[in-house]
């Protein structure tokens, strides 16, 4: 078929225009290197499974958005998910991710014991590790005092610190006796210790009348509630974060404890949809860690994530999603920053680690980042519980936020020394 001059010009014009377009936007320099692999150690079974799932959701959303935006410096992101279980098996999974799957960075991990095993392993393998949760500072100081590759989560006690400050402000002069019911492991113990120290600092003059230590995974608190009632405390402090929180409240409510006693639940916001109005009282100090789904001051990003989460899972998100989101986004930002500093080449692991320290990014909870000592900074959300909402579970009547700059002890300082140094 004969091509007319007009047709030819049209076609060649289009081709020329296309060629010009291609030349105008730079070809992504790294796209040919294949995808960036992010390994995730996510808990799937046991008491940490809901939290592991939550963190994975945040991670997946972050990766979807990053890939939609072209990836990291043009390279698509691929997730490689392995299960976090006990320390021995999880270290093996970690080695699989690093040695076999050759991932660029490993995120995940919510259990303290696992963190203490994986941290040194990451240092030894010289691989970036961005942990979501599960930090107690004591053991870590022994094993990796100056981490290069391992980045850890916020201190155990941060939410107890915030809740205790709120309790001191709210209940000053109104309480004489306190009781604690906390899980019998490092997290529970650290939180209770922080609470008592802060009560003392604020001159609250409270006496602990009973301290209960149910094991993590306990599901029957009828005897604990009876013991609490016998002791008649003015305030009960509880750091439950899993399925035991709603069970305790249910049984406490049934026995009349929630009506007569002030409650501080530092982390029960993690299972907030389980805190049904039927048994969760108003007026509790309730902590949501770093994500409160109904914050009126939430950023558009945060609102978008909440909407996505609710539509996809028919559930409102909790804090672990923020940790999961943050670690991915922080990594991306660090890679970009390090690449720029390296003059446009893909950065080495050490360069990314260097860029991560001190970095700040926009996460689901607002601005957050890493300190120079590789510990997370974040914003924490707590408040007073209310029934006035359209859900069947409690929410907050007003939201207090505190940054980890206020509620997390600074690098190199012990908890008690730090609290003593406050001016209140």
């Amino acid at each position: 078929m004969r091509i007319t001059r007009r047709q030819f010009l049209k076609v060649s014009g289009a081709a020329a225009a296309a060629g010009a377009t291609v030349r105008l936007s730079p070809i992504p320099a790294f796209a040919q290197s294949g995808p960036v692999k992010i390994g995730v150690l996510a808990a799937k079974a046991g008491v940490t499974a809901p939290v592991g799932e939550s963190g994975l959701r945040g991670t997946q959303w972050a990766v979807e958005r990053i890939n939609a935006g072209g990836g990291i410096l043009g390279r698509k992101v691929e997730l490689v998910v392995e299960e976090e279980s006990n320390p021995k098996d999880t270290v093996e999974r970690f080695r699989k991710l690093v040695l076999q799957q050759k991932v660029d960075v490993v995120t995940g991990v919510v259990s303290t014991g696992v963190g203490l095993a994986i941290g040194p392993a990451a240092e030894e393998e010289k691989r970036l590790l961005l942990m979501w949760d599960g930090t107690t500072q004591k053991g870590v100081e022994e094993t990796i005092p100056k981490p290069r590759y391992a980045f850890r989560s916020v201190d155990n006690e941060a939410e107890a610190v915030m809740a205790s400050i709120l309790a001191a402000r709210r209940f000053k002069g109104r309480i004489k006796t306190v009781a604690g019911i906390n899980n019998d492991y490092s997290y529970g113990r650290d939180n209770w210790a922080a609470f008592l120290a802060i009560m003392k600092k604020y001159g609250m003059n409270v006496t602990p009348v009973v301290e209960l230590w149910p094991k993590l995974g306990e599901t029957n608190f009828t005897s604990h509630v009876a013991t609490l009632q016998q002791a008649k405390p003015d305030l009960v402090f509880c750091s439950f974060w899993s399925g035991d929180a709603p069970i305790l409240l249910k049984q406490a409510h049934a026995a009349g404890l929630t009506a007569s006693t002030k409650l501080v639940m530092t982390t029960a916001g993690g299972v907030h949809e389980q805190l049904k109005k039927a048994f969760s009282p108003e007026g509790m100090i309730l902590g949501y860690n770093s994500l409160y789904f109904d914050d009126p001051k939430a950023s558009p990003l945060s609102k978008e994530f909440t909407r996505w989460h609710q539509e996809k899972f028919r559930e409102w998100p909790n804090y672990e999603s923020d940790h999961g989101y943050f670690t991915v986004v922080a990594y991306k930002a660090a890679v970009e920053k390090a690449a720029k500093a390296a003059g446009g080449t893909w950065p080495t692991v050490e360069q990314v680690a260097g860029a991560l320290a001190g970095i700040e990014v926009e996460s689901l909870s607002g601005r957050r980042g890493y300190r120079a000592d590789h510990i997370m900074e974040a914003t924490y959300f707590q408040g007073i519980s209310t029934h006035r909402n359209k859900h069947d579970f409690v929410t907050l009547e007003s939201v207090e936020t505190m940054s980890t700059k206020q509620i997390q002890k600074p690098s190199g300082m012990g908890l008690y020394d730090w609290i003593s140094s406050w001016t209140v």
């Binding site: 021995k88 270290v91 080695r95 076999q100 492991y185 490092s186």
Partner: protein
Amino acid sequence: MTGRLAPAAAVTAAAAVPLLGRDYYATLMLPFFGYSIALLGLNLLFGTTGLLSFGHALFLAVGGYTAAYLGSTLGVRSLEAMLAVALVVAAVIAVPVGWLCVRYVKIYFGMLTLAFGMLFYSFLYKFYALTGGDEGMPVARPSLLGQGFGELDKTAYLIGPYYYYSLALCLVAAVVMWRIVRSPLGLSLRAIRENADKAEYVGVRVRRYRFYAFVIAAVFGAAGGVLLVVPTGLAAPTLAYWTHSGNLVFMLLLGGFGHFFGPVVGAFVFIFLQDQVMSVTQYWRFVFGAVLAAVVIFLPHGLMGLLARRADA
């Protein structure tokens, strides 16, 4: 059995693994060595003597925590010292526990050992000042025969000197167990499994020999436990949980209890099967439960039993 050829070939193959360049799979062989040693002991207790312990993981935990305590708290880095002390501690703990448990047989024995295992788990969890509690106790990298290998990074150390050390230890344990099984003690234990009453009539002190088997198994378990925790770098209470004991029995059954090499085959298949299945589905426990059920029903003598039958046929 197929004489000396098959084991020799297996050892040669094992020795060659680190040289194949697949570092991850080389590191996976390390728990295999640890479990093999522990299971050699469990096989003596169950396969030879007929006592099914559902708390054997207790002794693995004893070994692990001893190694951790020596290395991290006391600064003793020698693996030989860790092993020696672990064996002694295991024996010391096995004496009262064994004395109590061997008074019962069969199911009762299984229940009691489960209870003791969980008691130890709770102790590890609870007395955190001593044990680290839920955080566990870090395990320092041990020196092997006095050599620190400090210039090697952890992976190179694990798939290099530590690998061959573990392999050698495994061989030593196998030889020792071979001797025990072939000894008069071993013979008596087998007689006890066959028919305890008859054995009693013939003059075998049933309860005493069961007790010996228990202590020997405990000691082997602790040795395996020491080897297990070094690659992890941490001894955690989960080592003593009853489902870990259940997995040990699973491995033994899979390999073929009663057969000398059953433990080794079982540990190998279990570890590598778990690795493959875990990467495929998060419901790997279901798969493993089904595998265990299939083995119990169709393959009661385990894989070694299958091989032996084929060899005879």
